[in-house]
Amino acid sequence: MLNINNITVCLNGRNLLKEINFDLDENDFMVLLGGNGAGKSTLLKTLARSLPYRKGQILFRGENLAYWSQVELSQQRAVLSQNTFLVFPMNVIDVVLLGRYPYTQGGKPNAKDVTIAYELLDLMGVAKYAEEDITCLSGGEQQRVHIARVLAQVWESSLANPKLLLLDEPTSNLDIAYQHILLELLQDRVQKHGLTVLAVLHDMNLAARYATQIALLKEGKLLTVGRPQEVLTTDWIQRTFGVSSIIQAHPIFDCLQVSTY
């Protein structure tokens, strides 16, 4: 789905990313982990095509990302940035319907667009605010609306032809219940309906439980990429975050559990 070959990103004379290489396969749920300033957001923005890279090449569906037209790209991938906010009042449902713009191109949203929008508002637990002004909601609720918006953009995806979703700290403002609701929803979409997800998270245990792939970043370098069982080891965690950890099998779920100290 995405082939990242030798990407170097340089901003204001600083190398933010150094020779990054990895592939993101279709229907994978990859989580980017790393300390502050490791380059997680920079990598995500570069893959979203909003930061220029100095060296290397990014292929999206085998074609150079730079050659994709803006409209075609918007129909194949959605991006959630950190801290998206609206300055002017807008109803919650209208915000989610903006996620359907790539398909309506300025026309009136049809019945299917509206159904998708309401379904997502319901899944993110904000359907009761549908007709309310988004700027009056709390930070976490606003974030849930924006998550619904980006999901609406890639909702019609299939296992054979999955769309791409890039999420920069989607759980940062969410309470613990909604962190699980969101990640479970993403997992379900990836496994049953087809979707490729690349998300920046901070919580290793959430990554352990929901991700199919984990990438570790430190100081602009990609340390390793692999399945959670391969990557979540005391050694890698020490190298990535500089903390000690104990790794055990999760008592209930078929995944690892990390305790850091």
């Binding site: 790209l73 129909q75 991006v79 609206l86 300055v87 002017f88 009042p89 109803n91 996620g99 713009y101």
Partner: protein, 346 residues
């Protein structure tokens, strides 16, 4: 709920209000004209019936073009405000406050003074068109300057935007002051007229020119309404949704500056309309669709400015208060109120 169903009835109501304002404006003034007389004059154009020459002249050549100019300028300034607020993603952006108007005024004043040094006579239309182009260029220069200075990565630093506007307004005022030294008596009158703003220079020629330019500009902005609506999410988010943000911004800014420039060229500095009207529309109609917002904003701007003009024509009759003074008296407290409101949000 966004009043989707009600949008037609809103437009009908606004049209009625507009019509009412027009009739009232026709009646009142330094000489009042009765309603019957207006009907008979308007009817005479259809039936070629004889009517009093002086009322015919007053209505046809003085009041009507002036009202038409008020409607056009009001709509143009209000829509400019609404559009530039989205481009800057800030409710405090306004063509007057960010220096567009004074940039336009300085260039227009420069044109007035310099055109006398031209070896040939431009004629009336050459004068109108030259004045419009000069105002457009001045406004464009100011806008590009303020935008470059205050916006990085799609985020506008409000303080820099407003301060740059202050600086440009001061610079424009200063440079216009320099021009005054070189101006003749007649040019001086023109320049003074600009700095207060007035609709008194209206005639059907100006109305025709403004109708063409402003209609084009409004249609140009309406064409990008959906993209502007998405740009409320921020530049990056809009581009993720497939909007060619830079292209839309450039187009919209050019249309806005064209409208504001031509309004300034013929009516001078009429401030705060672009600040107040979009805000009133937002709180009153709560409409998400930017296309509909533009329509409501245009109507309300037209109504408010022609109403304000009627007040300025009558309040100190037979003299006249420059309309820019009235809009400033109303707008400045409104601006302060908006600032306080912004402060309480942060």
């Amino acid at each position: 709920m966004a009043p989707t169903k009600g949008s037609i009835s809103i437009v009908v109501q606004l049209s009625l209000l507009l019509l009412g304002t027009v009739f009232l404006s026709l009646c009142v003034g330094a000489y009042s004209i009765s309603f019957q007389e207006i009907i008979s004059v308007l009817g005479s154009w259809l039936t070629a019936k004889e009517v009093d020459e002086s009322s015919l002249f007053l209505i046809g050549q003085i009041r009507l073009p002036r009202i038409a100019l008020g409607l056009l300028v009001g709509a143009a300034l209000a829509i400019s405000g609404a559009s530039i607020q989205i481009v800057f993603r800030n409710p405090l952006a306004e063509p007057g406050l960010i220096g567009v108007s004074s940039g336009a005024m300085f260039f227009a004043a420069g044109f007035i003074v310099l055109k006398d040094y031209l070896p040939f006579d431009l004629g009336l239309w050459g004068h109108y068109i030259g004045l419009s182009i000069a105002a457009f260029l001045g406004g464009l220069l100011a806008t590009v300057f303020v935008y470059r200075l205050s916006t990085t990565g799609g985020r506008t630093a409000v303080s820099i935007m407003l301060l740059a506007g202050v600086a440009i307004t001061a610079l424009g005022g200063g440079l216009t002051g320099v021009l005054i030294f070189y101006a003749t008596e007649a040019q001086l009158r023109d320049i003074t007229f600009w700095s207060f703003g007035s609709l008194s220079g209206s005639n059907w020629g100006i109305v025709g020119l403004l109708t063409v330019v402003i209609t084009m500009a409004i249609l140009g902005i309406v064409k990008s309404a959906k993209q502007l609506e998405i740009m409320q999410l921020g530049d990056q988010e809009a581009s993720y949704l497939g909007v060619e943000v830079e292209q839309i911004k450039k187009q919209v800014v050019i249309w806005v500056v064209l409208m504001v420039g031509i309004c300034v060229a013929f009516t001078g500095l009429i401030g705060f309309v672009g600040l107040m009207v979009p805000h009133l529309v937002r709180i009153y109609f709560k409409e998400a669709s930017f296309a509909k917002n533009i329509v409501y904003t245009g109507f309300l701007g037209a109504i408010l400015l022609s109403f304000a003009d009627m007040v300025t024509r009558t309040i100190v009759a037979p003299a006249e208060l420059p309309i820019g003074i009235l809009t400033a008296l109303l707008g400045a407290p409104f601006f302060l109120w908006l600032l306080v409101k912004q402060k309480s949000i942060r």
